[in-house]
């Protein structure tokens, strides 16, 4: 049974078609890496999964995407609830100009959690989940901007986890980080896989190989190939994939 299932998805920015007939499925508690050269549509696809593309004017989507067997593009879908269930981590760390504590508590507060004890407990668990607790426990009331880039990104992951989603989307989460912070985030992905279904966009082949169970290769808005990561990186079925992975183009 698939956690996420997209069927024949087409997506348009105005007249330009950005995605062509994408059908892709992800199982629960797996990590799927989306790879491909810049502009291939992998981020666009990722942002369809929590309807982030709704924010862009003049876009159109065809086909269907099911999460937990429910079509998220139905008219009666509650987008706020969907995004609560499908958390997202962005390319650049984007904490709010608030305290560390308030950053993590934000998602709880906007979703109507008022009980202080629950908020505090969830904030602490979420920060512990991203292995940031020891680093920030003494400065929870300080601005999130005082943290380093890598710490900020982990804080953003904690922020996404605090509202207890079941899916976590990561859009090149380590592209702005140094190697040590990157490896911390990668370890985290391994850990989080046990509880969440993760979809991660990355430009880094090694990263895809290290963290993912399945890899999907996008090129020019089309899904070229999707298989177990091991298969993709050792014996891809399609020549284009092999060319890209071995660095012959892209």
């Amino acid at each position: 049974m698939h956690k996420i299932e997209s069927k024949n998805v087409n997506f348009f920015y105005g007249e330009t078609q950005a995605l062509h007939d994408i059908s892709l499925s992800m199982k629960e508690n797996t990590v799927t890496a989306l790879i491909g050269p810049s502009g291939c549509g992998k981020s666009t696809y990722l942002r369809l999964l929590n309807r982030m593309n709704d924010l862009i004017d003049n876009t159109r989507m065809e086909g269907s995407i099911l999460i937990d067997q429910k079509d998220i593009y139905q008219k009666n879908t509650n987008v706020d609830d969907l995004r609560k269930n499908v958390g997202m981590v962005f390319q650049k760390p984007n904490p709010f100009p608030k305290t560390i504590y308030e950053n993590v508590a934000y998602g709880l507060r906007v979703n109507g959690v008022e009980d202080k004890n629950i908020i505090e407990e969830r904030v602490i668990t979420s920060i512990e989940q991203v292995a940031l607790w020891d680093e920030v426990k003494d400065k929870l009331k300080k601005s999130a901007f005082e943290l380093s880039g890598g710490q900020q990104q982990r804080l953003c992951i904690a922020r996404a986890l605090a509202i207890q989603p079941s899916v976590l989307l990561m859009d090149e989460p380590t592209s702005a980080l140094d190697p040590i912070s990157t490896s911390k985030v990668e370890e985290l992905v391994h850990e989080l896989k046990k509880k969440y279904t993760i979809v991660i966009v990355t430009h880094n082949m090694q990263q895809a190989a290290r963290v993912s169970d399945n890899t999907a290769f996008f090129y020019m808005g089309k899904l070229i190939e999707c298989d177990k990561t091991k298969t993709i990186f050792t014996k891809p079925a399609i020549q284009q994939t092999e060319d890209y992975i071995t660095g012959r183009f892209g």
Partner: protein, 402 residues
């Protein structure tokens, strides 16, 4: 040769640019300097017309009077010298025109040549007299006592509650009603304009479709380009009658009418500046909020507004600045009564409106003229303070972002 010419050209352009900069700064400084020199002059003057005297009987113990006391005497609010620290003696008022009550035209002579002696005689005869007349009627053997009138004091100028700069014998220079009027109208304007302007800015930056915005924004900016006299005309024809009818007032020219007109005039400033600030909110911030399941309104309220708070403040303050300095429209709709307002539904008079209305009839270099310049100084200081505040707010923002 060629390089020399090029260098010369560079130097020339540089000096022209520098000259323009210097000329502008010097002009600004000169204007402010001129304003303050003229305005300060009023505090070196007695609030009595040049060449006029206030004279009492030589036996009168009172030596000096405050401007407000003189006014009360001539308004017959004070009728006995003992109220002013003198003997118990009723006050007898005398103005030049009262002379015929005491002497016949024959006694004064055909060309009033006996006028000075007769006045002198009268002052001697009447122990309770206070006489106001021109010093050309002061005779050689004048025996009355000239009253000393205090100069206009800064504190009295600021706190005085009556503005009658052309009153005789003593001009009343209290600018409190004018300051109150200005602040009252501006405060009312900002109270009206801020919520509407903020709502419009939120709509434009966060909710409106691209096409709607590209249509609406120029329209709002156009609002800033309408001459203020047109706003005044609109206010006079539309808003004044409306207010008169709504509140069943004898006249509709009230502080509220001024506030409404000023609110409309301040809207473009508030909307454009706060909209710009809101649109500067990083997209990543908004997306982060939405991705956490926050609704559009929650995102606006919890992320966009706090992020653009300093921009919104700057817009509001600049809006107030515009309202405070605005002259024409206010002059046309506020009724211009120089009384301290206790309700927005009373006529008020603002500082700029006073200057505009009265400068034409104030004799050049006279007391009234200088008093109007002093008013200009007060206005300058208020708006200067406001601009400093904007600077402070925006600087704090820049500091915070670093």
């Amino acid at each position: 040769m060629k390089t020399n010419f090029k260098q010369l050209k560079e130097k020339l352009i540089e000096s022209v640019l520098m000259l323009s900069g210097a000329a502008t700064s010097i002009t600004v400084v000169l204007i402010v300097f001129f304003l303050f020199i003229e305005g300060a002059g009023v505090f070196n003057r007695k609030p009595i017309d040049d060449g006029y005297l206030l004279v009492v009987n030589a036996t009168n113990k009172v030596k000096t009077l405050q401007p407000s006391q003189v006014k009360d005497v001539f308004d017959k609010k004070i009728t006995n010298w003992n109220q002013l620290g003198g003997e118990n003696r009723p006050i007898v008022l005398f103005r030049t025109s009262d002379i015929t009550e005491y002497y016949t035209e024959e006694e004064l002579g055909a060309n009033f040549e006996h006028f000075p002696e007769k006045i002198n005689e009268l002052i001697q005869k009447q122990p309770g007299i206070i006489a106001f007349f021109s010093d050309k009627y002061k005779s050689d053997k004048f025996s009355g006592k000239e009253l000393d009138i205090d100069k206009v004091k800064v504190w009295e100028f600021l706190s005085g509650e009556e503005w009658f700069p052309t009153a005789q014998p003593i001009a009343q220079m209290g600018v409190k009603p004018l300051i109150y009027g200005t602040l009252w109208v501006s405060f009312g304007a900002i109270l009206l304009a801020l919520p509407i302007g903020l709502a419009a800015a939120i709509y434009l930056s966060e909710i409106a479709q691209k096409r709607t915005r590209s249509l609406l924004k120029p329209l709002i900016e156009l609002l800033a380009g309408i001459p203020s006299v047109v706003y005044g005309f609109f206010g006079l024809v539309v808003i004044v009658p409306l207010i008169q009818e709504m509140f069943h007032l004898p006249v509709g020219e009230t502080g509220l009418a001024g506030s409404v007109v000023l609110a409309i005039m301040a809207l473009p400033t508030i909307i454009t500046i706060s909209e710009d600030a809101m649109r500067n909110t990083p997209r990543a911030m908004k997306e982060a909020s939405l991705a956490l399941g926050a609704s559009k309104w929650q995102t606006i309220y919890k992320v966009v507004m706090p992020y653009s708070a300093s921009g919104i403040t700057a817009g509001a303050i600049l809006g107030i600045g515009r309202a405070i300095g605005e002259t024409m429209a206010v002059l046309m709709v506020t009724g211009n009564a120089a009384v301290i307002p206790n309700t927005l539904l009373a006529p008020v008079r603002t500082i700029p409106a006073t200057i505009a209305a009265e400068l034409g009839e104030a004799p050049n270099g006279g007391l009234h003229y200088e008093a109007l310049f002093a008013l200009g100084c007060i206005l300058f200081l208020i708006t200067f303070g406001i601009n400093m505040l904007v600077e402070l707010v925006t600087n704090r923002k820049a500091h915070k972002k670093q």
